[in-house]
């Protein structure tokens, strides 16, 4: 039990969050009209939000539909690139981060 907790404490939160987010995105069905949303603006009933559609855009891009992806949210491809690069960076740091030497 203690060992499991130690391993969990050593894992950077971001290295859990980004893959989980990407996994969730792969399960999105972009054709749904009323999709499940976590967006606070969307939940408050405000129609326009600059972040909404990003997940669906990334999923459409993963399915290979570039133009629809760009219409859903122009930053879809950019988000894929940046998030994958960030995950790569965190994994690269795992070795050097604990203590010096």
């Amino acid at each position: 039990m203690k060992e499991i907790r130690n391993i969990l404490m050593k894992l950077p939160l971001e290295l859990v969050f980004w893959p989980a987010a990407l996994m969730a995105i792969m399960f999105i069905d972009p054709s749904h009209e009323h999709h499940f949303t976590l967006c606070p603006l969307g939940l408050a009933g405000i129609e326009w939000c600059p972040g909404c559609g990003l997940g669906r855009s990334m999923k459409l891009l993963a399915m290979g539909d570039i133009s629809a992806s760009f219409q859903m949210h122009p930053l879809g491809g950019f988000a894929w690139a940046v998030i994958l690069y960030r995950m790569f960076e965190i994994i690269k740091q795992l070795k050097t981060k604990r203590n010096y030497g």
């Binding site: 976590l38 960030r86 740091q93 981060k97 030497g101």
Partner: protein, 131 residues
């Protein structure tokens, strides 16, 4: 064997341990120089926290810009911090974000010092007329 508490008393937790590991191999003079440079360049975790909090008011991603992560900064800014979710994650995670940046800076400081030191020793081997 320099003491980190003497040179950089503001450090806490993981960062304190890490910098102590660096200062172990230094004498007091070197450690003083390292502390000066490092203090000028490191980012306080509280600043990361405050900048991340601005994400709730429409200026998301500033903390990522400050930590040199331009790509994520742009992404956060144009999506209100990934619809607040990314901002909330970074609020939970602000200390390790600052820590990650600071150990990078520590390594940069070390390499800068070693490069200037080598030129210093070159001068020291030459006969100097300084008092």
């Amino acid at each position: 064997m320099a003491n980190v508490l003497k040179h950089l008393p503001e450090l806490e937790g993981m960062e304190l341990g890490y910098i102590q590991g660096i200062l172990k191999n230094m004498d007091d003079e070197q450690a003083g120089l390292f502390a000066q440079v490092y203090r000028a360049r490191r980012k306080d975790s509280q600043m990361v926290l405050i900048l991340a909090l601005l994400g709730f008011f429409g200026f998301a991603g500033l903390h990522r810009f400050v930590l040199g992560q331009i790509g994520l900064g742009i992404l956060y800014f144009f999506t209100i911090g990934l619809c607040w979710i990314g901002t909330i994650v970074d609020l939970v995670n602000y200390k390790s974000l600052a820590y990650e940046y600071n150990i990078k800076i520590a390594h940069e400081t070390l390499s800068m010092m070693s490069s200037t030191n080598s030129s210093d020793t070159d001068q020291n081997t030459a006969p100097s007329h300084e008092a």
